[in-house]
Symmetry: C2
Subunit: 261 residues, 2 copies
DNA sequence: CGTGCCAGGTGCCCT
DNA sequence: AGGGCACTTGGCACG
């Protein structure tokens, strides 16, 4: 297996940096570190005065501009962009100008460097997909398998491949045979989640005599709880500490089933 | 001004890489490129089989793990983490293990490298704040200044420093003196945005005789439009192409005002 | 493609 | 710290 070497150049002049970008953009994972101004125009518009940043250009056309703080890039562009590098005279200096643009929506990010500290490029190949456990989907499926964790006697309909019933997470009937809509959340439910449940239940109440609505979440905000009571809906506390440990088995079971399906 | 040089080492062995991480983590912007497995345990849980990735560790404790595609990091941690580097025997190989953890919530990301292609560290200092134009806040303020763009004769209350009236974007009365709540959106409004307006208006209708509700957005989904009609609410189309160009003046005006305030 | 909705969402501001 | 909400949200699945 060939070890892809990293090309690194320290403190290149604008011309060298420009060639470097042209050579590797859209091809390898390209990095630029240096002082630059950044302008963005597209869905919104932004300007960023000169400062030192790390620029990442992925082979798929993704742009990321990171400052020294925080998770979110200070500027970015989604995959599918095209990159241009040029050298221009600006304020009597020769500068590297890198633009990254895309269409629909039309957007452009322009980076004007007053100094390039480092440029490097390398191949990274990643064939693996992230396996994520503990999503809302996981919790839903657990509750489908163990409906008593929602409420004693609750029995969900099988909506596996029948989304025509609607976007409800769980739909079934309670111990008294009353239709019951359940909206599942993996974290503290707020007013927005309560509203979402209310909307689903309202639709069902238009069609049927009596419909209960349950918001199943590890916690609920006070405002949301009040809203639920106003709308004749209920909160159902989920004990994530008990549920989460069951998730790995669930995934294991599904892999096994996959062998047959 | 001292030019911060980048420290770069290519293909370090695990021990060297370990020292490098210990030396720079939490101090400079640290990068690792190489093949690794990644495990995350915290609010959820994830596993990622061995593949080549770019790891970024910012001085503020932010962790970013990027693969070769997409805007979102495949794993991450927000600022405030602590980093540990160790060398361990695993499957008969000596491997670099880097862990990044934090508390409240308790979370840990563990990276086990089977190869480090490159490690580098450098200082980037960025004192500048992004100036973003065309946010929802901008559009709100424009409409406050030019209420006729919402509707002929609309007059908003001055809620500048009085949030007690509620979280409504705009609140005023129309040409007939009828109370009118306006929810502003910068992009196509969907069912969620319609629901949000409905919630605000419902509260006001509980307190007052007659209240109109306007969803002001560049567009609205069909479902949302229907929902608005059902709830006796209205859609108000915003012409962003006409509004956006006015935003720069708005910001300029506010800077000027800032000189006096 | 539009529309809805989850996300380990993140970040901001307010109480 | 809790809570509501915008975000150049991004990403996916479905009609």
């Amino acid at each position: 297996m060939p070890v892809a070497e990293a090309d690194v150049i320290a403190g290149p002049d604008p011309e060298d940096a420009c060639c470097f970008v042209r050579e590797h953009a859209g091809n390898r994972l390209l990095q630029l570190v240096g002082g630059c101004t950044i302008d963005y125009q597209g869905r919104a518009k932004s300007q960023l005065a000169s400062g030192e940043r790390l620029i990442l250009l992925k082979p798929d056309g993704t742009l990321l501009v990171h400052s020294d703080e925080g998770v979110k890039p200070v500027n970015w562009q989604p995959p599918g962009t095209t990159t241009t590098a040029d050298v221009r005279e600006l304020d009597g200096d020769t500068r590297l100008i890198v633009t990254v643009e895309r269409s629909s929506p039309d957007e452009i990010v322009t980076m004007a460097f007053d100094r390039v500290t480092m440029a490097c490029a390398f191949d990274i190949e990643d064939w693996e997909d992230l396996e994520l456990l503990g999503t809302e989907e996981d919790i839903q499926q657990l509750l489908r398998l163990h409906p008593d964790l929602v409420e004693e006697g609750f029995e969900p309909y099988d909506m596996e491949l029948d989304r025509r019933r609607g976007p409800m997470d769980l739909y079934g009937h309670d111990v008294h045979g009353t239709r019951t809509v359940v909206e599942v959340k993996r974290r503290t439910a707020g007013i927005e989640e309560a509203t979402q449940l209310a909307r689903y239940v309202e639709r069902e109440r238009d069609k049927h005599e009596e419909v209960r609505g349950l918001l199943a979440a590890p916690d609920v905000s006070e405002t949301a709880h009040k809203y639920l009571r106003d709308k004749d809906l209920e909160f159902c506390e989920l004990d994530l500490d008990r549920l989460m440990p069951k998730v790995p088995q669930l995934h294991a079971t599904q892999e096994t089933l996959g062998d047959f399906g």
